[in-house]
Symmetry: C2
Subunit: 285 residues, 2 copies
């Protein structure tokens, strides 16, 4: 397999928000041999073909899997696992398979248990999204300036280099590599916890009464309370232990804040704010 | 006093981020008789005069207070209270005084204890801001589309109508009126709590390790962790009881979320996300 993308057939599986955005970003930024999609919804295949995003779309995965050098899975986590299990025998030798789902450890373990030795699975997670679902909202620009995480346990090989190059080319600012376990531990804190916090704020009994008093801080903190409920229920339970640990630690942190306020430790509160200000300045808005 | 703004002398006290923005917004949108500022920093007076934001600036408050029909206090809460106490005798009969600080109940009680009967104090709170401090960052556009809250316990009179008209004219989308106590109860939940959450997330031990895994949800949830530490320490303790109640309730809510996940209540988690999605859709992004 050459590093030149123009020699590669790439197939995106599932043209939802992420899959559609992935196809659009590849079409926009890279000249590939063929960009195909496997998608159960025929009208979406038709639309994306008409828009010249994909070269061809398939309901039956046999042909594209026989001929693809890279397969990017953009369905829900469990669907992705079952797709590989059911269709692995159709895949081209040396094919690179990657997924885009928000948790990585359990998926990687399951896939590594059964995957053929002559194809390569590398987990992936684009740190980008939108509070809407489906191809109609897909947009290549959601990836611009965002981070991508690739996960592997073994020595990162050529496959990872090819994926890194692809994701940089389609607009990601930073592509990091870490173990699936480390990814899930971090994501529990940096993504799943803020989602739960947002939902808890919005589901609070005080929400309705407070409508007149909502400014930027509440709106920003709760943007992601508009959530893909089905997908996120899966993500939560697939990462249950690490998420509950992050949530318990955060509840402890809030209890500490409660006590420094309750004890009138004014200097400690001010230092706490000075510390958060200095730390938050280190990351972009 | 006429409702025509061109007959009014208006004085802004304190040309920081909010005071500077207030002066700029009034200058931009309203033709007033005189727009004055009282400010301890002479170079800021000079700058804002050169920029034609204010007509005149004063370190000594005597002249502008003698002649102002409206005084807008834009300093820290305790400074505002002391300013009225110290300078009340200089104020023009029937003058309207309003403040802009983020808590209202304690301030209003204290001011109402000593205020002259022939001048009017109405509390105010612009639900707008920026994560920076000082006149140099002031900007009339921060008010555009935001909400303003005016607080009073008694029957809202002409003074409130004048202020309402002013704040609508300078760009606020919604001006609500409520009791100071209700304001503080709501703000504990809609503003102070999200600020504490943001600071706790950023001050977490996990923050540094998670830097590669931060996407939009973490960035949005922690934007306000960059905070004016001195001002917010005051705001927190001035509203201590209501804030601690809101924080304790939120910790309870998070504990409930912990248990529904821990108990593998998948349907309950999915409904929880569906509920937050429906509720969050009701407020603007």
């Amino acid at each position: 397999m050459e590093l030149e993308f123009e020699n590669l057939n790439i197939t995106v599986v599932g043209l939802g928000l992420i899959g559609g955005s992935m196809a659009k970003a590849i079409r926009k930024h890279i000249n590939v041999k063929n960009l195909w999609a496997i998608e159960v919804n025929e009208s979406i295949i038709k639309q994306s073909k008409q828009e010249r995003i994909i070269d061809e779309g398939f309901i039956n995965p046999t042909y594209p899997l026989n001929h693809s050098d890279m397969v990017i899975l953009c369905a829900y986590p469990n669907t992705n696992i079952n797709f590989i299990k059911d269709n692995m025998h159709k895949m081209k030798k040396n094919c690179i398979i990657t997924d885009t789902s928000g948790i990585k450890d359990k998926i990687s373990r399951q896939i590594n248990e059964f995957i053929r030795e002559d194809i390569y699975f590398v987990g992936g997670h684009p740190m980008a999204g939108k509070e809407c679902i489906g191809y109609e909202f897909s947009d290549s620009s959601i990836f611009e300036g965002a981070s991508y995480i690739l996960t592997c346990n073994h020595n990162p090989g050529r496959q990872i280099e090819i994926l890194k190059k692809l994701f940089y080319r389609i607009g990601f600012k930073e592509v990091s590599i870490m173990s699936p376990e480390k990814h899930d531990e971090m994501i529990a804190f940096t993504s799943q916890l803020p989602h739960l916090i947002a939902c808890a704020l919005v589901n609070s009994d005080k929400f309705e009464q407070g409508l007149d008093c909502m400014g930027g801080s509440f709106k920003d903190a709760t943007r992601v309370a508009q959530i893909n409920a089905e997908l996120w229920s899966q993500l939560i339970f697939e990462n249950k232990d690490k998420l509950l640990r992050a949530l318990a630690e955060f509840i402890d942190d809030l209890n500490k804040v409660y006590h420094i306020i309750d004890n009138d430790n004014k200097d400690t509160v001010q230092s706490y704010f000075e510390k958060s200000t200095a730390k938050r300045k280190g990351i972009s808005i």
